[in-house]
Structure formats: C-alpha cells, structure tokens
Symmetry: C2
Subunit: 231 residues, 2 copies
DNA sequence: ACAAAAATTGAACAATTGTTCAATACAAGC
DNA sequence: GCTTGTATTGAACAATTGTTCAATTTTTGT
C-alpha cells in the first residue's frame, strides 16, 4: 500500500515537474501532453489517468508552483519581530523580486503564475485567491500604515493606496514580464545576481514616490526644484 | 488595374482586421486561420495566398497595429514647442497609457504588442526596432535631461536612468498586463475613462521618485546598502 | 470578342492534437 | 498458486490544425 502510493505519487511528481518546464516555456496552448510525457518518461495515458486531462495537470502544476514559491520566500521574508513600515516595504519588494526572478527556485514556478495573469488559461480564479489576493492584502496593510489610513481592517482602502500598490507591483513585475525587452535594450545588464540592486532602486524610488495626502502640494509645475521633502 | 489592386487590398485589410481581433483575444497559437477567414468572409486559402502563411499574416497584423497606434498617439503627443522635462514626462506617461489602454483605437492594437512582449511569437525583433526602441530612446532623452546626464547622444546612459525608465514603463504597462488582476481586486475601478487619473498618479509618483544622484542622501535607512553601483 | 495570363478559391491532405478504453501488469486475499 | 480486483499502459480514434494545388473566376492584352 505504501509502495504503490509512493510509486503513484512519484509519477505524479515527475509529471508535474516535466509539465512545469514545458508549460512555462511554450505556454498552455502550445504544450502537448506527448512532450510532457516524453520528458517525464511516462506513457501518454498517464496524464489523463492521474490528472483527468491536460487542464487538470495544468491546475495541479500551478498549485504546486505557488506553494513552492511562497514556501521558499514567504510574505514576511526578511522581517523578524518588529519593523517599521519602511523596513517592511523594503523586505516586501525584495522578496517579491526574488519570488519572480530567482533562478534558484525552479525557474518556472512564478513564470507560470505571471503567464496566467496576462493570459488566463483556466486557473485564474484559484490563483487569485490562493496567491495574489493575500499578497495584495499584505502590501495594502503596509501602505495603509505608511499613509496613516485607518481602514486597514476593512477592505475599503483609498484610491491612493491602490494606485501606489499597482505602482509597486508594476515596477517589480516588469522586470519579469518585460525581461525580453530589457535584455534587448541592455544586453549586458541585468542578470539574476542583480536582484538586490533592482530591489534597492525600486524601494528608494517608491519611498520617495509615496506621499501622504496632505503632506505637500504639487511641486513639479512651475516652481523651483529646491523643495526638500519634509519628514 | 486600380480595381484589382483595390480589391486585393480590401481583402488584405479585412483579413488584417479580423486576424487582429482573434489574435488579440486568443493568442497566436490558439488562433485558427479558419476562424480568421470565417470572420473576414474569405476562403481559407486567402491567408496563405495573401500572406504566405499564418505567421506572415501575424507579422502583417503587428506591423499595422504599431503604425496605427503611433499614428493616433505619437511620441510627442501633448507637447507643442518648448517644454520642460517635467512637462515632457507628464505627456509621455499620458500618451503611453492612452496607447495601451484607450478603447477608441481598435482595442487589439497594443494588446498584440504587449502579447508579443511577454510571449514572443515570431515578430519580436521587428517590433523591438520599430516601436519599443524608439520609445525607450525618447524616454531616455527626457530622463537624461532631468538627471542632468550629458551622454544623451551616445547610448551609454547610467544604470540609474535605465532603472528609472523601467520603473516608468512598469507602472504604465501593469495597468494593461495586470488588467485582469486589477479588475478582480477592485471591480468598481478603473474604467478606461480613468486614464487621466492614472496618468496623474504615475507622473506625480515618478517625479518624486526620480532623484538626481547627488541631490539628497539616503533618507529612509540608517545607512546605504553595500553595493551602490557595480559595473 | 477572344485568348492568354494572373488571381482567387475551397475541397482534399498529411500531420498533430487530446482523449479513450481494451489489454496488460500488479497486488491482495485465501 | 490461484483468483479477484485494482492500477497502469499505449495503440487506436475522432477532431482539428496549417497548408496545398487543381479547378475556377477575373483581369489583361490585342
């Protein structure tokens, strides 16, 4: 019983691993179950036997990807005990980039998630609840704290908080989504080893970019540049 | 002669329009030439006759998309005569968002370009040279001016300029690439009518985020991080 | 008006797809 | 060791794909 179960799970694992590579490389529609099975060394029927069909395997792969990426880089990665909102934001951005750019964690884990974001193939809703919404809620908490908004508990954050969250997510994700463009514009930089530098830039850029509603009016129009930001 | 040419071009235009809709909706691999031809009211052989094959039609569609989008919103959209770098940046961000989010210009135009960015299907290099690199060069010019870098003419901008450019592009593009996520997190906002507000946020966020190298030291930490700038 | 040439069409084709299910291998009970 | 029940396999299948090319229509030259 233990033997058979182990064998079955082993085949499943091999399929998920092989499928992850192929799905991430070719995208869902261009991936054939034959290529997956060839790579995994299983018969073609195995996919339909273990996962009902191609779609079922895809959902299982995505589930595994999310769990795996968040197991290695949890939301609070780099935070221990108390921390200021600024420190939390710095850690959030760094771990976010690691999650999507680190080649150490099987490279396809977050590749698939991002693929599903820009071009859903059947697992979008599940991914939303299991992975994206919790991440957003965590970031929202940090931003509400920084902007001194009180409605952290309720889901009624201001437009400003939401727009800042998209600014942060956009800056990070572009280093993944636009990786082909970045590589074409600047072939020499950046390799995965530069994640720290990228995180540093985005953090500084963002910390300056965020501004509390009443803090300071428009300053970029006609007046002089010299205005140093208070606080 | 005029008649035949006109007829041929008319069929080509119908095919490009139909193909644009379908390619943008389903992606390249999932699109069938039969669906395109059905939509365009042409026989199945027409694609191979007029464009050699499916791939040829795809390239033609992308070419048409880029020309069309930049014809409606040119790089200098919103700028007349002299303008400060800040005003240029504001206009750049606004027109960039319009180009990718405006539903007025056939919605699939930039959808395809972004699809090709995150998942190339054979026209990446051409798109890079015809559309993305010029856009980047224009933005680079603005940023070099703001950051008072002198090497505007040469292609040797600093890492800071490049990272700021990716921060801007990322913030803008996420409103397109992550549109499904944004719609799921906040079903009530934002509709295309809000492009102005989004542009305003990104501009202000970015103007604060950009900082001249010597302008002001790190202010959010006790110390600067180890590697400031290698290479 | 007629013939020659070029443009256009769509039925047929070979290749590939996801899925099935009878045949096989394997384990458990006695 | 044999029988029964379950797990696994892979050849066969129907559906769909992009592409072809002989047949047909349309245009051109005289």
């Amino acid at each position: 019983m233990e033997e058979s179960l182990k064998r079955s799970d082993d085949t499943k694992a091999k399929l998920i691993d092989a499928a992850g590579h192929v799905f991430a490389q070719r995208g869902y529609p261009s991936t054939t179950v034959r290529e997956i099975c060839g790579r995994a060394g299983t018969p073609v029927g195995a996919v339909n036997y273990h996962f009902r069909n191609k779609q079922g395997l895809y959902v299982a792969v995505l589930e595994h990807s999310m769990q795996s990426a968040f197991a290695k880089y949890p939301l609070q990665y780099g935070i221990e005990g108390e921390a200021t909102p600024e420190e939390k934001l710095r850690a959030f951005i760094h771990s976010f980039l690691l999650r999507i750019l680190d080649e150490g964690v099987p490279a396809w884990h977050m590749k698939l998630v991002n693929q599903e974001i820009s071009d859903p193939a059947g697992a979008f809703d599940h991914m939303m609840e299991a992975c994206i919404r919790p991440t957003y809620e965590y970031l929202r908490g940090i931003l509400c704290e920084m902007l001194e908004e009180e409605n952290v508990e309720e889901g009624r954050e201001s437009d400003l908080v939401f727009l800042c969250a998209t600014s942060i997510a956009g800056q990070c994700l572009y280093h993944f989504m636009g990786r082909n463009v970045i590589a074409a514009l600047r072939p020499e930089s950046f390799n995965p080893a530069d994640i720290g530098r990228i995180a540093e830039h985005i953090t500084e850029f963002t910390l300056r970019g965020i501004r509390k509603p009443g803090e300071q009016g428009e300053r970029h129009r006609k007046e002089a540049h010299g205005t140093a930001s208070a606080r």
